[in-house]
């Protein structure tokens, strides 16, 4: 995560311009993370929209010394994903569709969206191993899902996960270990070979 941080101190301001740069830098990571957790294109779009809307609204009071900005985006995304799983279906504060409706736009580039969605679905079909593991991870309680997804799907280090989830290193290691233990029971090694 530290490597993703803005290099220039001038980029570490709380202006809309700075947010625009950060949006460019983190959108794909956050959308990918949400999509890999949810596995539903439209819902992932709605959740990603909420993540960045919430981040934009509270960006003015973000303290750069508190946590790395990338961890902050991931933290919001993790909370939104968990909220989605907790509340269930689409009971969202705002979706991209609603947001764009509010702004008055329809979908002028629907063909591009469909093409990217089709590519993502093809990519998923190619990753059967991932789908198998993901299905087992999704059956776990949220606290285990978070650490396993961040560690193995997003490739985050233990330290980065502590920053994202705001928990101690010992707690993260313990959650990871217990989460893997629960998966081990459901996912025989030879099934993923």
């Amino acid at each position: 995560m530290a490597n993703d941080e803005p290099l220039h101190t001038s980029a570490r301001s709380n202006t809309p311009e700075a947010f625009g740069s950060l949006y460019e830098q983190y959108y794909s990571q956050i959308f990918g993370y949400v999509y890999r957790r949810i596995l539903h294109w439209e819902t992932a779009q709605d959740i990603a929209a909420e993540v960045f809307l919430k981040a934009y609204k509270s960006f003015w009071r973000f303290r750069w010394s508190s946590i790395p900005i990338g961890a902050w985006f991931y933290r919001i995304a993790t909370n939104e994903v968990n909220m989605f799983f907790r509340v269930g279906k689409h009971r969202r504060d705002v979706s991209l569709t609603e947001l764009l409706d509010k702004e008055g736009f329809d979908a002028p580039d629907a063909r591009t969206t469909e093409s990217e969605k089709a590519n993502a679905e093809r990519e998923l079909q190619r990753s059967q191993d991932f789908l198998l593991v993901q299905a087992q991870v999704r059956a776990l309680p949220a606290k285990y899902q978070d650490v396993i997804a961040l560690r193995y799907f997003e490739g985050k280090s233990i330290r980065e996960i502590t920053e994202i989830l705001g928990k101690g290193e010992g707690t993260i290691k313990s959650l990871l270990s217990r989460g893997l233990e629960k998966i081990r029971k459901k996912l025989p090694l030879d099934a993923t070979e």
């Binding site: 809309p16 625009g20 794909s28 959308f31 960045f52 702004e103 008055g104 736009f105 969206t113 893997l180």
Partner: protein, 153 residues
């Protein structure tokens, strides 16, 4: 320590990589661009709007607490400084820029090529602050333009 085979296994999974550039562009537009243009538009029309309000109060209603200070402290010094171009810039060009930028930020054109024709779609955003800036700047530009054409100075 012997590595955990399940952890090793998970570490080797091919993770699907996805992109969603269309959503990224649209969301950014909705989040950032319109707000920024409204803010700049408001700044660009602030002085001309104040000036026209002062003119209206002075010559329309006969109350003039604003016109004299504006004339004395802003427009007279500009005229006497030799930079006369600043006056049309402030009163006409900047509101015109505000008008164009805000109008563009609340409208979106897309052209879809068909077999025999092009389908042009015009989407309009309900972003009220941008529309207020469009209305005010358009009015300022029209008033100044008519005033200049009439040569009534």
């Amino acid at each position: 320590m012997k590595p955990d085979p399940i952890a090793e296994r998970l570490g080797k999974i091919a993770i699907p990589q996805v992109t969603n550039e269309a959503h990224k562009r649209r969301l950014k537009l909705a989040l950032l661009d319109a707000r920024r243009s409204a803010w700049w538009g408001t700044l660009l029309i602030a002085l001309p709007a104040l000036f026209l309000t002062a003119v209206f109060l002075q010559y329309g209603l006969g109350v003039g607490p604003f016109f004299d200070p504006l004339e004395r402290f802003i427009f007279a010094p500009i005229r006497h400084s030799g930079a006369r171009w600043l006056e049309p810039l402030l009163l006409f060009v900047l509101p015109l820029i505000a008008f164009v930028v805000n109008l563009l930020s609340v409208t979106h054109f897309s052209v879809t090529p068909g077999r025999d024709e092009f389908v042009v779609t015009v989407a309009v955003k309900r972003r009220w602050w941008n529309w207020i800036v469009v209305g005010l700047s358009g009015m300022i530009v029209a008033v100044i333009f008519l005033y200049a054409v009439k040569g009534d100075r």
